[in-house]
């Protein structure tokens, strides 16, 4: 018999929906973080599915660093209005006033415009549970993290003292000032994400598909010149190359890859045969072996 348990994607979907509903039923102030990428698109889709015909009983929030690809912002605004969901947009205004940017400030940029901005936004609205679309196959400290990841009053993760997470009995009890990051698609892989996007016909930002785009090559990364704020070095000149993006973030920190994959099927077949991980396209991740773990201890996702 074709049961859900012997259908890999069906099993992952049911698990994620179960988690979304547990939080909605037990927690007072949840929010879903929305970063516009493919994993966020899957999360949004799962949230719509989990509660239908009701709308998701929590708002969505995008931490806007002001350096996202323009196509991402257009996509975000259109999706929110099409689906009729509440989309909060929050930016670290002080960072903007100080002109903190990815060209001049390196890892301080991520700390200020992403980590600090996120912590401040969560505190401002009083959200004590935040859904995120992180997956355990992304990085090896994430592979160690529970689906319900508890954070202290300063949003920090304590990897050496994680609460046991037994069966699907999630303990959502927290003390005032503590919070939880919840990752419903922890057990999904990049391949699962693409296959699910295909199965469910989920719309994603066009940047994932290969197209001629203006790029420069820097330290082995192919970076798209998305607007005139880009700091070109004297010898750099944008050239048109056929590229696509495996992950999406701030455009100056996101490496593209040369590709001819213009359809979902082509992307899936590329994903199945690639020999490099998607993290290689994130400029911030290879700074140190444990840079992700350090960021998470500071309150990053």
């Amino acid at each position: 018999m074709n049961t859900v348990s012997n259908n890999h994607l069906g099993h992952l979907e049911a698990e994620a929906i179960y988690i979304l509903r547990e939080v909605a039923a037990e927690c007072a102030k949840p929010v879903m973080l929305y970063s516009i990428g493919k994993d966020s698109s899957v999360m949004l889709h799962l949230a719509m599915k989990a509660f239908y015909p009701e709308k998701p009983p929590f708002p969505f929030m995008h931490i806007d660093t002001t350096w996202k690809f323009r196509e991402m912002i257009e996509f975000r605004d259109r999706k929110a209005s099409e689906l009729g969901i509440e989309m909060l947009i929050d930016t670290n205004d002080k960072g903007v006033a100080d002109n903190i940017n990815p060209f001049d400030h390196g890892s301080a940029y991520t700390d200020i415009m992403k980590t600090e901005a996120l912590k401040e936004a969560l505190d401002k609205y009083g959200f004590n549970v935040a859904f995120g679309g992180a997956r355990r196959d992304e990085e090896k400290s994430r592979a160690k993290e529970r689906i319900f990841s508890f954070r202290n009053a300063s949003h920090a993760w304590d990897p050496k003292n994680q609460r046991p997470e037994m069966w699907k009995l999630f303990n959502t009890r927290i003390n005032p000032n503590e919070s939880i990051r919840v990752f419903p698609i922890s057990n999904w892989t990049e391949k699962d994400i693409w296959q699910y996007i295909k199965r469910e016909n989920i719309e994603i930002v066009p940047l994932y598909f290969a197209k001629e785009r203006p790029v420069v090559e820097r330290d082995g990364n192919i970076i798209m010149v998305d607007d005139d704020r880009f700091h070109l070095n004297p010898n750099e000149k944008p050239e048109m190359r056929k590229v696509r993006f495996r992950t999406l973030g701030c455009y100056p920190l996101t490496g593209g890859c040369e590709s001819d994959a213009e359809t979902l099927d082509e992307i899936i077949s590329e994903t199945l045969t690639t020999r490099s991980s998607e993290r290689t396209t994130r400029v911030i991740d290879h700074e140190a072996a444990s840079s992700m773990e350090m960021r998470k201890k500071e309150g990053y996702f």
Binding site: R21, K49, A143, M166, W167, L169, S277
Partner: protein, 608 residues
Amino acid sequence: MTTMLRFIACGSVDDGKSTLIGRMLYDSKQIYIDQEQALIKDSKQGSRGGDIDFALLLDGLSAEREQGITIDVAYRYFSTDRRSFIVADTPGHEQYTRNMAVGASCADLALILVDAMNGVMVQTKRHSRICSLMGIKHIVLVINKMDLIEYDKGRFEDISQDYLNFASNLGFDSIEVIPVSATDGVNIVEKSLHTSWYKGDSLLKYLEEIDITTQSSTNGFLMPVQRVSRPDSNFRGFQGQIESGSVAVGDEVGVLPGSEKAKIKSIISGFENIDCAIAGQAVNITLDREVDISRGSVLIKNSQPAVADLFTATILWMDDASMIAGRSYFLKIGTKQIAATIIKVKHKVDINSGSKMSADSIIKNEIAVCDIALSEKIVFDKYISNKTLGAFILIDRVSNMTSACGVIEHQLDRSDNITWQKTDITKADRLKQKGQKSLTLWFTGLSGSGKSSLANEVEKKLVAMGKHTMLLDGDNIRHGLSRNLGFKEGDRVENIRRIAEVSKLMNNAGLIVLTAFISPFEKDRQAAKEIIGDDFFEIYLSTPIEECEKRDVKGLYKKARAGVVANFTGVSSPYEEPSNPDITIDTSENNLSTSTSMVVSKILDLIE
């Protein structure tokens, strides 16, 4: 369509679990180039020589890499043409046993590693017992480091026999034994000539082929309700995951606890209406009529789980704070969360021999069989027949820690034999007759903080106002009701429980109760509040210890300082301040008559 297998790697410290999984990923080409480059680079930095250290693929925390050990579970995902796998690599150290249990709770199969040099160890046995407890049916005993014993067949057979003897009564359906060398990649993905005497499959081939489908024991339909969805007044849907069986539109289902029935009007799965749904599916169900259903209710058809408030369970304690019989915890089972008390530890289980040991308290990493009482009747089942309704966790009321996990062995019958006898005269009648409302004034604070004196004055005032009261004093109760209790933590918990139950009875009799007990622990006061309910009113005497010790009315501080009285609150045992008392009074700053007025004016509205 590929099937999924969830398995764990467990066993004693340094038996090579992380190395084995790392090697399996590496040899089956599941590692990206950038990860491989990082692995080679990190291996060179490590202290284990220049060879590739496959464990570094799994040990993702900096503390793990520093110490060369595994602290918490790592999940890895890989697939072959035949199957997709989720593997949980678990820690071997005893202190991290609970993290191993986390991995085991979701696994279909366990690889139990044994170091060929050491053979079966205590941790091998502990992990096997936890696998058995969690209902894992399939075991692969992986005898690792065969290279270090020159692939000796005799040694391999001795260890196999040792383990099979040990595990014979743990209820496993299959135990396969495979000789490997994780560092050399022997019999992991490909079979090796080193072990020509070994006739079985390589580990990966075995994992690809093993049949883990369980004989479905004609399970009927069962769905715990996660959430009631009411987007508007026309729609009332019950969201949940079908845990067993199937259901179709038009079927009549029962609602537990209770005896109500209704017919399925519609089943929504995702964005679609469907006619029928099966186990594993997340659905949203509507019924043909209004029935009292909330989170924690269970919809059933052709199945009959228990509805009761008492059961026997095997638990694994996971908290640094040890378990105390009589203390109240939150219990979560399925989608229901309620107050629960471990009323009796029947016995602990010896990890080595499996024999029963008597105990009244349990510490971290111990397994015990206990009787657990719940504050109301809930729906549950034996774990062996129903994993979802047979598994639970216990949550500490103050720290919110997941203190224990457990599986239900069987229902206990007290609750069915003792029913609540209804009486014609109710609490409301008794209150009306006395012309007052009931209340329990719970005075808490250090010895000498003024509890008894203040309670005494407040009672006098209330009686003068024409109220009907009763004062329960700590010392007096210990002369009678609690005469058989000492001052150990477990005895104190029981003492407070008795006082709370008596207070509740007296409140039901229509009386205003005043209790004067140190009651130093927040958990116990919360438990008392749980028993007494809305009548509970907490008065915290915050008089500083220096002042209390100066007063030393009964000379007890002097004795405690001299070591003559043990477990004395404030001296040799802690006092936890109430987090949210109804009123706080420092009797070093307020004299008796002011303090009395403060209390009386605050409760006036509650008792009139």
